[in-house]
Symmetry: C4
Subunit: 229 residues, 4 copies
Amino acid sequence: MLEELKKQVYGANMLLPKYGLVTFTWGNVSGIDREKQLFVIKPSGVEYDKLTADDMVIMDMEGNKVEGKYNPSSDTATHLELYKAFPKVGGIVHTHSSWATSWAQAGRGIPCYGTTHADYMYGEIPCVRCLTKEEIEGAYEKNTGLLIADYFMDKDYEAVPAVLCKNHGPFSWGKDANEAVHNAVVLEEVAKMAARCERINSEVAPAPAELQDKHYYRKHGANAYYGQK
Amino acid sequence: MLEELKKQVYGANMLLPKYGLVTFTWGNVSGIDREKQLFVIKPSGVEYDKLTADDMVIMDMEGNKVEGKYNPSSDTATHLELYKAFPKVGGIVHTHSSWATSWAQAGRGIPCYGTTHADYMYGEIPCVRCLTKEEIEGAYEKNTGLLIADYFMDKDYEAVPAVLCKNHGPFSWGKDANEAVHNAVVLEEVAKMAARCERINSEVAPAPAELQDKHYYRKHGANAYYGQK
Amino acid sequence: MLEELKKQVYGANMLLPKYGLVTFTWGNVSGIDREKQLFVIKPSGVEYDKLTADDMVIMDMEGNKVEGKYNPSSDTATHLELYKAFPKVGGIVHTHSSWATSWAQAGRGIPCYGTTHADYMYGEIPCVRCLTKEEIEGAYEKNTGLLIADYFMDKDYEAVPAVLCKNHGPFSWGKDANEAVHNAVVLEEVAKMAARCERINSEVAPAPAELQDKHYYRKHGANAYYGQK
Amino acid sequence: MLEELKKQVYGANMLLPKYGLVTFTWGNVSGIDREKQLFVIKPSGVEYDKLTADDMVIMDMEGNKVEGKYNPSSDTATHLELYKAFPKVGGIVHTHSSWATSWAQAGRGIPCYGTTHADYMYGEIPCVRCLTKEEIEGAYEKNTGLLIADYFMDKDYEAVPAVLCKNHGPFSWGKDANEAVHNAVVLEEVAKMAARCERINSEVAPAPAELQDKHYYRKHGANAYYGQK
């Protein structure tokens, strides 16, 4: 069942250690089949070098396990809420990657200081607030998803495919699991350069809007001319 | 004698270079057999790429060598005091890992800024004071262990399985040698992100208590639901 | 056509991942045949581990593609302007390497703090201004090249073979594609050490002029005595 | 001639890229035969992955080349002066390793903040002044050696086997070429942790003298008890 998607999600999970985004099991990737209304996610706490495509867990949109010998990632309820809120998203990633997590712990969004950021993310990468005591003690992972969804309700989640959760870490997404991982790598690189940039010039201001526009639309939308499309 | 434990402790020692926690021979792992009241520890100053399981040294709880062709780690007396003070600990690690040692040199405990920390360590990772002149000039390594034991006398050493020694470096522990190394890796990662986080936001405050509780108890205790347990 | 140059430019492009200067496809190298008035450049957005020498694109000095199955790098017009302005340059590199880009985002040139810098670059590595709204919305990549060319009009582009573009990233050049990459590596290393140096001493001043002279002329010009020349 | 020493010095040179202390050819190791009054040094500007033991250059104590097809390192005259001034030194290393060079560029000695430093270097690792205009324009490399020798005239060069040259980079030494490289690795690690430590606590003070004594003499001198000696 969903063999292709399980392979793809497995492969995308294995990119996390390849790109240095995870220590131990601190990350998970999922991918969704919108027609079947099922998504595939990494099992909870299984080490990457022991993981196989068959270990992937299939979940339905009510959060029930449909197939899989393992428990799904403990962050599954967050993924589920994001899939519900972001209908064009096909893959989601959560990591504790070092630089993005440092910004999340600092409780700050990442300003757009240059074209590396603007090529992929349109404007500041937001940091949503910490959950309240009630939200934490209730359905914590689900509430994390609801908070992110709420933040993006009046924003373009395709133009800003990543978010930081205060005191926690980043989530990113994309049209499929691979693009979601791609955006997680971009996020980490952008987080690193933004932190260093502020050390080099403590008065630094975000890049001008017209430069952000230029680079974003060089890669996205009808007039994109980057790459071989 | 203690062949299994020697293999396990050897394997745990070899994880230190694998995870980038040691330069040269600047680290050591031990593991204890509580029934036999013997512990196994790395020999002093032997290079990791020449180390074998047979090189491990067996010590008794009076600090006498019971077996082994080499001298035990120069930090053996510290390990011994920790085993005496922490009856549920099965493995201990000492390293000079770069970020944790930078905090130790700075003389500061590591505040809990986020869930990566809270998942493993409950609250601030403490930094104990530098030893006094008398303690240093006396039984230095033993006094290091006594100081740590004294600090934890009224605290939960299982909930905070690591400590920084001012002007020196970290010790960590766990139910066995492998878990102690696991905690050393976590400590290094947490130390790195906390330092960066403070640069990104110099006004940053620790994560709310309820979030620390949530994440710690997601992985520990009767209601844990992380992983496959 | 231009088989040798294509191989050389391909090889120089492959040095970018080798030296850790690129993430994904965020970089490009070109090389020019001055006699034939043609230059060879990496195709746009093609992944490094799939790249071959045959994928290189040949361009003429009017910016027309002469040979190649792919679109040339989206930065081709910048390369072209630099080749026109810098007649002794044989190769050009653009990357988003992490430290150099952090300086570019910070909008600061890199002061010469020591001999590592002085051995290769004579004086501060400049950071040119961000393009104006008109320049960005017009022929953006060409205008980037014109701005750099304009900055160096009354300066020695051979003595300072690199530049930072504000809010964007670095370009470097050399007598051929390999030397241009060599200078990109030097730039990244120098950018890293200058940033750290300012953290270690916030009052640091550039190295004395006579030391900069000594090291630069130890490696360059008629009286050079470094190496085997 | 001196085949054993050439092999040893070659091997020690190859440790520089292994330990990440050099970019390109920015480093050199030498070793001396005190009886024959000859020393062996890396050739100038030859890439590490093309280097062989046979490429090593033999020099006499007047700075004449005795054997070798290549020019010796451009820093040979500095090595020579250090061998003359430090009679118990058997090997010398110069690198532009990133953290040590950042301190050198910052013009600051590295305070002893902890036991990692104290285990190998007794007290602050000094940073000697920049050479004067006259010294630079004269016999620059020789004057670098004389300045270091002059600084250590009334100090113990065996207890502090490393120095930073302002605006330039580090030199280290030891009883042979391998120990000199060992000390270069220690220096880099200590430089990194001291810089980070000052960021974590801007009020940090050096480790107490008694702790520095304890650790230094745990590894050195008649009462040393670290390792298997």
